[in-house]
């Protein structure tokens, strides 16, 4: 009698605890979904709204999805700005991919040099590269403009790429030196005995071992070059050279006082989607870089 009562009360309390846990769990996820909505909604609204008909582009996105059928009108009107959206996407891609390639090449060599060789002023030079982080590039744009002009690289995508590569170097050289430092010396010695030296050793033996570091360096180089605005605005002066963010200023300014909001939505979609895709695919390497930067 008493035993069964006790059992009942126990199962009651257990049930109460389970109910409480369930309630805490639901509150947690309700909050989580609300937060996720806030961070996701601007992307979703823009992307969905960019597929509305041209006639709807001026209207507020209520509802945000294309209510009267999907259309590419917004992308077509984006194409009427500057030298066409393909050209500017191509410029942005060219600059970003060239920045990735050059940053990786330069920082792998430098990271290898700093990790494996001894030479005079080594530490001074390393600190010099890292110290450029302290100085904002925004404060040296004018001389950059003049130096690039002297080198015959004014208004050139290659000149802009060189500037972007330089901006990436402190982080990338630091990353790559650490990556090479983490490779055990024994592997290198074994390879040396087998006759691999210097560049051959670097490319054949060490490169595969520091690949994760290279991935991190490449992602940051890509995202920063793709997204950079101020330097591109200052250093590029002719229409057909503009990268996407600079092109979007023309779209933002509008024509005859009217902004084509459809083109703005399409432009935002074109600019943000590659970043989101790259991040989602290579999240692991991105976070590694972030942690390395934070721990430093």
């Amino acid at each position: 009698m008493t035993l069964s009562k006790m059992n009942a009360s126990m199962s009651l309390s257990r049930r109460r605890r389970a109910r409480k846990a369930f309630r805490a769990e639901s509150t947690y996820h309700a909050t989580g979904v609300a937060i996720a909505l806030f961070f996701l909604a601007p992307f979703a609204i823009t992307l969905l709204a960019s597929f509305r008909h041209g006639t709807e582009a001026r209207l507020p996105p209520l509802p945000p999805w294309p209510a009267s059928g999907i259309s590419l009108d917004s992308y077509r009107s984006l194409d009427t700005f500057g030298a066409g959206v393909w050209q500017h996407t191509f410029n942005s891609l060219l600059v970003s991919l060239a920045t990735v390639a050059l940053t990786v090449a330069v920082s792998v060599l430098a990271g290898y040099g700093f990790s494996r060789y001894r030479f005079p002023l080594k530490n001074v030079l390393f600190v010099l590269i890292i110290a450029t982080l302290m100085i904002p590039f925004q404060s040296i744009l004018t001389p950059l403009f003049i130096i690039l002009a002297r080198l015959g690289l004014n208004n050139s995508l290659f000149g802009l790429t060189l500037v972007y590569v330089t901006l990436q170097l402190p982080f990338s050289v630091f990353m790559m030196r650490n990556a090479f430092d983490a490779v055990p010396k024994e592997i290198e010695e074994a390879a040396r005995i087998d006759g691999a030296r210097d560049l051959k050793l670097l490319f054949r033996v060490l490169m595969p071992l520091v690949l994760p570091g290279i991935a991190t360096v490449a992602i940051f180089a890509f995202l920063n070059a793709w997204n950079e605005f101020l330097a591109a605005l200052v250093l590029l002066s002719s229409n057909e050279k503009y990268t996407l963010p600079v092109l979007m200023m023309a779209v933002r300014a509008g024509r005859l006082g009217a902004v084509n909001w459809g083109a703005v939505q399409a432009g935002v979609a074109v600019m943000t989607l590659p970043c989101l895709v790259v991040f989602l695919l290579l999240q692991r390497y991105y976070m590694r870089g972030l942690m390395a930067g934070a721990v430093k």
Partner: protein, 305 residues
Amino acid sequence: MAGPGPGKALPVRRRRRRSQWRGLLYIAPAMALVIVFFVMPVLFTGWMSLHNWPLLGSPRWIGFNNYFRMANDARFVSALRFTTYYTVIVTIAIFAVAFPLAIFVEKHRRFVGAYRTIIFLPVVVGLASASLLWVWLANVDSGFIGPALKALGLVEKSPNLLATFDSAFFTIIVMVVWKIAGFTMIILLTGLQAIPPELTEAARIDGADRWQRFRYLTLPLMRRTIALALIISVTGSILAFDQFYIMTSGGPQNRMISVVYYIFNQSFVSFNLGYGAALSIALLAILVIISVMQLRLLRIGEDRP
């Protein structure tokens, strides 16, 4: 007679000398870029700042006159004041959002990884794209925020968010928090995860309530992480440009001109290149002072963990 001695030493020394040069060879491309596109421009900025340097025509040496001009430049002073105001407010706002988020995503629950990823998404898009996106969302007729408030019946007429200083400033703060909070959250999360769970458990057994545990355990243990997140937020905010240029073009009554924006205007709109360089040196000095303070602040965290 003495032959074998130097004969043995020579190849070793030669090899070492050769490997020295090789090391320099490997870092040469990086050094060349840093010197041509960073060291030289910095020195050049200092040199230009001592000149009256028009876009066309030859520069004229004027000593420190640009710096005297800066001290009496009311627009520069107001740019400095606005940048400071923005930095303080946006940093507080970012922390007020990022800290609870970090605590939220620290728990071991299902989907917590998805929440982290989603909150982080805006970090990886450009500030220019984010500004453009929000300038549309905030538009009075074609945007989302105003018309949605009206559709919900919360306001009678869709408000023009970017028309007055306060509402435009608020919109920009919300945009920047949306864009940056995920980054600060991840930094803070690494700090939270570094706290040994035994300590929290011990404090709980000792009867410390949630707030006490946060105030007397979590916060002190996270000092270094918080300092780091603070510094990244402050230095980033001082250099703010994109959001003001794109969202408000300098704002209602030119009240949203940040320091970088003012340098941009002086150098590339008015073409006072010398004066722009002097302003840049001032900005550079401010940033270097903050960087030095940053190192000190981080060291304090090290001394008393």
